[in-house]
């Protein structure tokens, strides 16, 4: 008997641990489960509480897309995601590489500046950024001094240009490039490859994990962004998905819950899938930067 006890006690502890974690994990996803279940219910089924829908109303997803211009909101979000992410990949990784591998005077100081900028919370920048975007010279009826018009307000430029590089991604890229051996670049130099060529053809391909991490982080933040589009745009045709969801959720008195849940499901699903497939990159990025939460 006594020989069995030490072996079985950890096993019991482990079973208990799994049960507790499963309960906790269930609590974490209950809101999502209820979101999905609600999204299949008919409009008058949600007047009282029930777990399961009477019958699965798949048409909710189609009807919801028609109830508000959600299809356009989706398109707008896609434009913003792509429009931000491609330049971010170019600018931030190039800067990160330069800071990590090339002999720049004052590169340490510049890196420190990027880190300081990385600390500034976006919430702080919203009001002055609104003014900067409105004052862009020679845009939206502005003169060369940025006076007189609306600048980039209510244009795609306002949604995209302020976010085409980010100190966080420059920093992430720099941290990655620092660990690559300089000998690789030296060998290419001997072969007569240009400096830009070395970055594009030799170092950048080695930094694929950094590119993936930055892509995932930026796609997520561009897709989920809300407060800036709220402030910087006023015409419906520019507004992204999160904005559409917010407006629909605030529909005074008569929120059509199944439709709202269907759209929330469509808005969250791509990011959840992205995370599930890119887990290790998300986690590596989180570990280096410590952002969020």
């Amino acid at each position: 008997m006594s020989s069995v006890a030490p072996a079985s006690r950890p096993a019991v502890g482990k079973v208990l641990l799994v049960v507790v974690l499963a309960a906790g994990g269930f609590l974490m996803i209950v809101p999502f489960l209820w979101m999905i279940l609600t999204s299949f219910k008919s409009l008058n089924e949600v007047n009282s509480f029930s777990w399961l829908p009477d019958r699965i109303a798949l048409m909710n997803y189609v009807d919801a897309l028609r109830a508000a211009p959600f299809a356009m909101y989706f398109r707008n979000s896609l434009i913003v995601v792509v429009g931000q992410t491609i330049p971010v990949l170019l600018l931030s990784t190039a800067a990160g590489y330069a800071l990590a591998q090339l002999p720049l005077r004052g590169s340490r100081g510049i890196l420190t500046c990027f880190i300081i900028l990385l600390i500034v919370p976006f919430q702080v920048l919203i009001v002055p950024l609104f003014l900067v975007v409105r004052r862009i010279p020679l845009a939206g009826g502005n003169d060369i001094l940025g006076q007189g018009g609306t600048g980039w307000l209510n244009t795609w430029a306002a949604l995209i240009v302020p976010f085409i590089s980010a100190p966080l991604f420059t920093f992430l890229a720099r941290q990655f490039f620092v660990s690559l051996p300089a000998e690789l670049a030296d060998a290419a130099r001997v072969d007569g490859v240009s400096e830009i060529g070395i970055f594009v053809r030799i170092m950048a391909p080695l930094a694929t994990p950094a590119f993936v991490t930055i892509t995932l982080f930026n796609v997520e933040s561009a897709w989920n962004g809300f407060i800036w589009p709220l402030v910087a745009t006023s015409s419906e045709s520019l507004r992204p998905l999160q904005f559409g969801l917010a407006t629909f959720a605030q529909g005074q008195g008569s929120v059509q819950w199944p439709f709202l849940m269907a759209m929330s499901a469509l808005a969250t699903l791509p990011m959840i899938l992205l995370f599930v497939f890119g887990q290790r990159y998300f986690i590596a990025g989180m570990a280096t930067s410590g952002i969020k939460g």
Binding site: P31, M35, A94, F275
Partner: protein
């Protein structure tokens, strides 16, 4: 632009001329390429982050409105702010939200991380379940919780009545609204903290744990004497970044309550938003922003300092 190369090797003078010239040329080419690659991102950050950041500070000393220039009014905005009951209660509410959310979320995330650090089946699945709320948009999260907190048919009241408790008005009840949002804050922030704790736990040397176990320490003793001290810098990091993000809660409030009922959920960022884009008092809102920046900036820089050694910066 003349960019001098970095430290020249001491023996450089002994080199033959052509070789030295070639090396100098390479160094110059490197520096040129470096500036070329760095310039776009640097310029962009200056225009869209550094400039607005400085503007926020400048504007806070003016009475600027959305239209037209403001004039310099010195510290008047700050003086007014500290006599403004709405601002003060927003600040107090933000602190309350932070004090309630951060310790609870930290404790829960540590417990989950320690659990997930054991060899158990389904670890990856559990990690995903706990992390999913972090990657979902806070607007969608807010929409779902708005429905959960629906007084008539929501899941929240169903849970209450399951436990035999009285139904609640949730977000429509001024006494319950803020605590209800705190629950969402804990739920959404748990995963991010858990991942940081998990990474830290995995970096604690298993040898130390094994040594303690061989010395006859119980699991509990091992945790308190080996694991807990090893987590010290991470605790601090998680603490300050969590405080900083609690200070910035906005989307959730905007979508679910719009600061109500009766201002019960009017937190700092929401107050800033209202002052700037509804009352159009840009200068006044900027002063509020600067106060937030001071709070958050100090906290985050402390957090980063604490991790400096780990990241080898």
């Amino acid at each position: 632009m003349t960019v001098e190369t970095l430290e020249r090797p001491v023996g450089a003078a002994a080199d033959e001329r052509p070789d030295r010239r070639r090396r100098g040329g390479v160094e110059r080419a490197k520096a040129r390429a470096g500036w070329l690659l760095l310039a776009p991102a640097l310029l962009h950050s200056v225009i869209f982050i550094a400039l607005p950041g400085l503007m926020a500070v400048y504007l806070s000393f003016t009475n600027a409105r959305v239209a037209g220039q403001g004039t310099w009014i010195g510290l008047q905005n700050y003086v007014d702010l500290f006599a403004d009951a709405q601002f003060l209660s927003a600040l107090k509410r933000t602190l309350l939200y932070t004090i309630a959310v951060v310790p609870v979320a930290m404790a829960l995330s540590l417990v989950v991380a320690v659990g997930l650090n054991q060899k158990i089946p389904g670890r990856a699945l559990f990690r995903t379940l706990f992390y999913v709320p972090v990657v979902t948009s806070s607007v969608a999260v807010a929409a779902v919780w708005l429905w959960i907190y629906n007084p008539a048919a929501g899941l929240g009241n169903q849970v209450l009545s399951f436990f035999g408790l009285a139904r609640s008005g949730w977000l429509t009840d001024p006494d319950v609204a803020l605590p209800a949002l705190m629950v969402v804050g804990v739920w959404q922030g748990l995963g991010a903290k858990m991942i940081i704790y998990l990474a830290a736990l995995q970096s604690i040397s298993p040898d130390l744990i094994e040594a303690a176990t061989l010395d006859g320490a119980s699991r509990w003793q091992t945790f308190w004497n080996v694991t807990w001290p090893g987590l010290a810098p991470v605790h601090f990091f998680v603490l300050v970044t969590s405080i900083a993000s609690s200070f910035q809660v906005f989307d959730l409030v905007y979508v679910t309550t719009g600061g109500g009922p009766a201002n019960a959920t009017n937190v700092l960022t929401f107050d800033i938003f209202t002052n700037a884009f509804e009352r159009l008092h840009i200068g006044y809102a900027s002063a509020e922003t600067v106060i937030m920046l001071v709070f958050v900036g100090i906290l985050i820089s402390l957090g980063r300092l604490s991790l400096r050694d780990r990241e080898g910066l």
